[in-house]
């Protein structure tokens, strides 16, 4: 299997990370990932990403399926019970709202979680080779995949842009 080459720049300060992202963009170098210990809006804006991910479409699908499941369950079980009481309709509408609503929420939440896991390629048993444990604590990181020829210039550029440490990785 062919190994992929990558360079990881590790940063201690947010402003240096943001300038590095700008610098890499101006050099037209593709950033594979930016690591941070928490959600930071400034990173998202620097990368030009929209605020919301596609996970919301998973939620919508789950919500529709959930509402239909609730209605189906309430009506199906009602039809199965052939016992008309007091002229009440065998397939009621108003009481169906409650199971429909609850299943709407429940299945939407299942799909939201499934969407999150799918989009983030989780769960994963092993962390990638380039991952640095400090990324979940107090350091920021920029990952750039490169070729044999381009790795060294990218590494030098990251050092120039303020990375406190630059690692060359084969993964």
């Amino acid at each position: 299997m062919v190994k992929k080459l990558a360079v990881v720049g590790i940063f201690a300060y947010l402003n240096e990370l943001l300038s590095a992202i700008e610098g890499l963009k101006s050099e037209k170098i593709r950033i594979s990932a930016v690591y941070s210990p928490m959600r930071i809006e400034e990173i998202r804006e620097a990368l030009g990403e929209p605020p919301l991910g596609p996970g919301r479409f998973f939620t919508l699908t789950g919500a529709i399926l959930g509402a239909m499941t609730g209605i189906f369950l309430a009506w199906y079980t009602s039809i199965q019970w052939h016992f008309i009481v007091g002229g009440k309709p065998p397939v009621p509408v108003i009481p169906t709202v409650i199971p429909a609503f609850e299943f709407f929420i429940l299945i939407a939440v299942f799909f939201t979680l499934a969407g999150l896991l799918f989009l983030n390629r989780m769960p994963k048993r092993r962390l990638p080779v380039h991952y640095d444990k400090r990324f979940s604590q107090d350091r920021f990181g920029i990952l750039i995949h490169c070729t044999v020829d381009s790795c060294e210039p990218v590494a030098s550029l990251l050092e120039d842009l303020g990375a406190e440490e630059v690692r060359r990785i084969e993964e």
């Binding site: 930016v34 609850e102 969407g115 604590q137």
Partner: protein
């Protein structure tokens, strides 16, 4: 040279004396690794209470429901009182984690994780009470919609089945919301541990890495979770209230029940947050995170819910008089002057009068006063459920069928003690093994490290 600039999320009621991300990890995780002597003492006391509860339930299973003082006409007695009480306690967690998140109330940051945990444990305990009340608990699966020979299904037109669906949905959603919010923190713990701990936290952090894409999808999911949990939390206690409001029992059959129950649930839940967090901040040394400012905000919210609850009490009584229904009117007169009148007046004082003291800043910022108010509101809310459930069943239409529930038996007290102990026991275990404060959210709330050139 390192300088710190203020991040826009840094807030008035936010964390104090934390300037680096490393310090956040050290403080929150340090409290987990070595919680101190008081922690073990509290855990032992709670564990003893759990054993008392388990023994009491075991005794009831062995001897039958006669061990409880539940007799006609008050067939729901203390067990359903406890059920509604615990479902109510569960409500503040989602209020704090979801509703206040949507409203961008940043003071929730340090208390959201604990409140969510409180929600989950309270719903789990609430879910036990219908089982305890069943008597023959091994037949509980009859309520589940599974295909069977006789084509018998749960009746989805019944409020009791609505309740099963609502509570189980609430438990599932609350758990997933809590767990999803914790994944990045579990990864932080994974990256700071070795050996078995590393493997366990690594397993539950699902391989979280914290890339820009991960955070974006996580942010979207968290927002949607909050958006879905918000109507759910309102619906759950509304559905619980319909267990009563859809019955033609004087004192129950009222359209005000849904908002009245939701307000009461949040009222008791916030009071329980005070009761839990005030000792917790001391035991774990979180005074700089769960600041007086945060507790004061909870106090202000209790004023709001207390006023709504007080208003609901007045409206109930006004409508009973104005509506002209003789049985309804008699029920409310009996509530104020009958067998359970002391419970009624205790409820009024604890739930509607005591919170008024929170209008004074000196009270709102005094820990002993806040803790005492938390306890009193919880006592008041438990009695509110007793007054509504036992009081209404005891005094229906026909004097021939009147009768009273003579308060809990020793077995019921044992189960009540067991339920509180289990709640605190689970919470203490949670505090030992999982971060009680959302690490990543605290990092968002403190100044960002910036190098000045």
């Amino acid at each position: 040279m390192e300088t710190i600039v203020s991040h826009e999320m840094a807030q008035e009621a936010g964390p104090r004396n934390l300037t680096t991300y490393g310090a956040v990890d050290d403080q929150i995780l340090g409290a987990m690794w070595s919680p101190g002597g008081y922690y073990w003492l509290c855990l032992a006391i709670a564990g003893l209470g759990v054993l008392i509860g388990a023994y009491s339930w075991g005794y009831q299973i062995a001897t039958g429901l006669g061990a409880a003082n539940i007799l006609h006409p008050v067939m729901w007695g203390s067990y359903l009182t406890n059920f509604v009480f615990w479902v109510g306690i569960a409500h503040s967690g989602t209020l704090i984690s979801a509703i206040l998140f949507l409203f961008r109330a940043s003071w929730r940051t340090t208390i959201s994780r604990s409140s969510e945990a409180m929600t989950i444990f309270a719903v789990m305990i609430a879910g036990l009470f219908p089982l305890i009340h069943l008597g023959r608990v091994w037949l509980v699966y009859w309520i589940l919609p599974y295909p069977n020979q006789r084509n018998l299904w749960p009746n989805f037109q019944s409020p009791l089945v609505f309740d099963v669906v609502a509570i189980s949905t609430y438990l599932t959603v609350s758990f997933l919301f809590w767990y999803t919010g914790m994944i990045p923190d579990l990864a932080t713990i994974r990256d700071r541990t070795t050996g078995l701990k590393n493997r366990i936290y690594g397993f539950f952090s699902l391989g979280w890495r914290g890339t820009n894409e991960s955070w974006r999808h996580y942010g979207t999911a968290y927002l949607l979770f909050a958006a879905l949990a918000t109507p759910l939390v309102i619906s759950v206690h509304s559905v619980v209230s319909w267990d009563f409001a859809m019955g033609v029992v004087p004192g129950w059959h009222s359209t005000i029940f849904a908002p009245y129950f939701v307000a009461g649930a949040i009222h008791s839940g916030l009071a329980m947050v005070l009761v839990l967090l005030i000792p917790m901040r001391k035991i774990f040394g979180f005074e700089n995170l769960i600041t007086i400012g945060v507790l004061e905000q909870i106090g202000k919210t209790i004023i709001l819910t207390g006023v709504i609850v007080g208003y609901s009490y007045m409206v109930e009584h006004f409508m009973a008089w104005y509506g002209g229904g003789k049985a309804e009117e008699a029920q409310y007169m009996w509530r104020m002057s009958g067998y359970y009148s002391w419970c009624f007046w205790l409820m009024i004082i604890c739930n509607a009068v005591v919170p008024v003291f929170l209008f004074f800043k000196a009270i709102r910022t005094n820990l002993a006063a806040l803790f005492s108010i938390g306890i009193l509101v919880n006592i008041g809310m438990w009695f509110e459920r007793l007054v509504i459930i036992a009081g209404s069943e005891a005094h229906e239409y026909d004097p021939y069928s009147w009768g009273v529930y003579k308060y809990p038996s020793i077995v019921e007290w044992g189960i009540l003690v067991g339920s509180f102990s289990l709640f605190f026991f689970l919470f203490l275990l949670f505090a030992k093994f999982l971060p009680t404060i959302a690490i990543t959210e605290i990092k968002e709330a403190i100044p960002v490290p910036v190098r000045q050139k």
